[in-house]
């Protein structure tokens, strides 16, 4: 059934070295399936890059480039501009430029390059794979790590509950750049995800996709829970699926009632130290944020 709507090509070929059950690798696979062949991929340092490019091998069947951790959007900008001129001068036709980066590469060290690219209006799609920490280097906190989560640099301890800051709202920051298309997605909802990828690449100008990806290694959970946890993130309202087209908000999945976050927390090692009070505090924040987000939706 699925195969009818989805290409059988795996331009991100198997044989990659992601951890067993990696949600990021899965998301990459789904995104690449929806992208087609006429693309050029720019990859930030991070799991997405390191699992697929040990010299002298590559998992990539489409043109792919990695240079550094923080400059992905700028490399992509350069390529996009080059393609523009090269096409204008009649040398070659344009391809769509796609950037892949983790949450660290996006909301921390690569934020400025991204902001610049969005502001300048390059015709490219930037995809952030948000596994809520620096996983490639071994589970350090990022600004995208959720409040209360354990990481190696925001460990729980006598003086610490784990991550002390609330998750940076990258989708909101992207939207504040007034770009034509922004959406959130999760590979637990593959068709929604692939639809959004297609919409995003069809836009002329910058688009941004923020994809929630489960990392069993960093989240300290079983490898077979990758899909389940992604669904729970959506069903609890922790990671709402929505899109913003030309400033208009639309909810993609709107559960009639939000599942309590503790259902999501309890199957992950990174939250196991949290007291009921802290969980309650987080529950309030999640509910409130979800409510405020829904208020932005058109036709509600």
């Amino acid at each position: 059934m699925t195969r009818r709507f989805v290409t059988g090509d795996e331009n991100f070929s198997p044989g990659h070295r992601a951890c067993i059950g990696c949600g990021e690798a899965l998301a990459m696979r789904q995104v690449v399936k929806a992208l087609g062949d006429n693309i050029i991929l720019v990859n930030a340092t991070g799991c997405s890059e390191i699992i697929a490019s040990a010299l002298p091998t590559t998992s990539w069947k489409i043109p792919w480039i990695h240079t550094l951790f923080e400059n992905t959007a700028s490399i992509a900008s350069g390529i996009e501009s080059a393609l523009k001129v090269v096409e204008r001068k009649g040398k070659r036709k344009k391809a769509k430029v796609i950037a892949f980066a983790g949450d660290g590469g996006t909301s921390d060290i690569g934020l400025q390059a991204l902001s610049g690219a969005l502001e300048r209006g390059h015709d490219l799609l930037y995809v952030c794979f948000d596994n809520e920490a620096y996983m490639n280097t071994g589970i350090q906190r990022s600004s995208s790590t959720p409040y209360g989560a354990w990481t190696t640099t925001a460990p729980s301890g006598k003086m610490s509950i784990g991550q002390k800051t609330w998750k940076k709202n990258m989708p909101a920051i992207a939207i504040a750049h007034d770009i034509p298309y922004m959406a959130t997605a999760c590979p637990s909802y593959p068709f929604d995800l692939m639809d959004k990828v297609k919409k995003a690449v069809s836009v002329d100008g910058p688009s941004y996709l923020h994809i929630y990806v489960v990392c069993p290694t960093g989240w300290r959970c079983k490898t077979n829970l990758t899909i389940r946890l992604g669904k729970l993130a959506v069903e609890t309202g922790i990671f709402p699926l929505y899109e913003v087209e030309e400033g208009k908000y639309k909810m993609s999945v709107d559960p009639p009632e939000l599942t309590p976050i503790k259902d999501y927390f309890k199957i992950q090692g990174r939250f196991k130290h949290l007291s009921d009070e802290v969980i309650e505090e987080i529950q309030k924040k999640v509910t409130g944020d979800y409510q405020r987000l829904k208020e932005k939706m058109e036709g509600l």
């Binding site: 070295r17 992601a18 951890c19 067993i20 699992i51 069993p216």
Partner: protein
């Protein structure tokens, strides 16, 4: 100086095994050194860890290529790697397996001194999870007496806190249950 190489999979604790024994040796006043294979290997991928123990300051700082002892945490690795590679003559191979010594010898052609123990079963029964690194320490100590068994207690306690006792038990059981065939 004795050199030990541990074969495992990312996430199985090969490095922890090396570290724990290293600490034990140092606490005994010996010189010791442990290190992982340096690389970005992921959960599930075959990995190595290394350990050296000596009576003098250890000056070499490189992967162990000619081990005196090889410890294999995951029997599946036997299918895909030659775990005996570089083994010094007179060296020992210790394998977590439910197979017998003879089966191992015939199936994988291991000719050296060999020890086997069903560490998965021990770990499942003692720890509740099939994590075999602390268990295999028992096998290592049985086969080599490289450090005293008691010397492991403090490192295990420090590392595992509340679940240290279970790990000590697993180690002890493996110590008892390891079968070793001299050559």
């Amino acid at each position: 100086m004795r050199e030990i190489r541990i074969h495992g999979r990312g996430g199985q604790g090969a490095v922890t095994l090396a570290e724990l024994v290293c600490h034990a040796a140092i606490n005994e006043g010996k010189y010791a050194q442990s290190m992982p294979s340096f690389g970005p290997e992921r959960r599930g991928a075959p990995v190595l860890a290394f350990l050296r123990i000596s009576d003098e300051h250890i000056k070499i700082r490189a992967e162990v290529i000619t081990p005196d002892v090889v410890v294999v945490l995951d029997p599946g690795l036997l299918n895909i790697t030659d775990v005996t590679s570089g083994l010094k003559s007179g060296g020992t191979v210790l394998i977590n397996t439910k197979k017998s010594i003879d089966e191992i010898r015939s199936k994988f052609g291991v000719e050296s001194r060999l020890g086997v123990v069903n560490a998965v079963e021990i770990a499942r029964e003692t720890l509740g999870v099939p994590i075999t690194n602390t268990t295999m320490i028992g096998a290592l100590l049985k086969a080599t007496k490289i450090v005293k068994k008691d010397s492991l207690i403090e490192p295990l306690k420090h590392r595992f806190g509340p679940i240290a006792d279970k790990n000590i038990k697993a180690m002890n059981r493996a110590f008892d249950e390891t079968t070793i065939e001299e050559v």
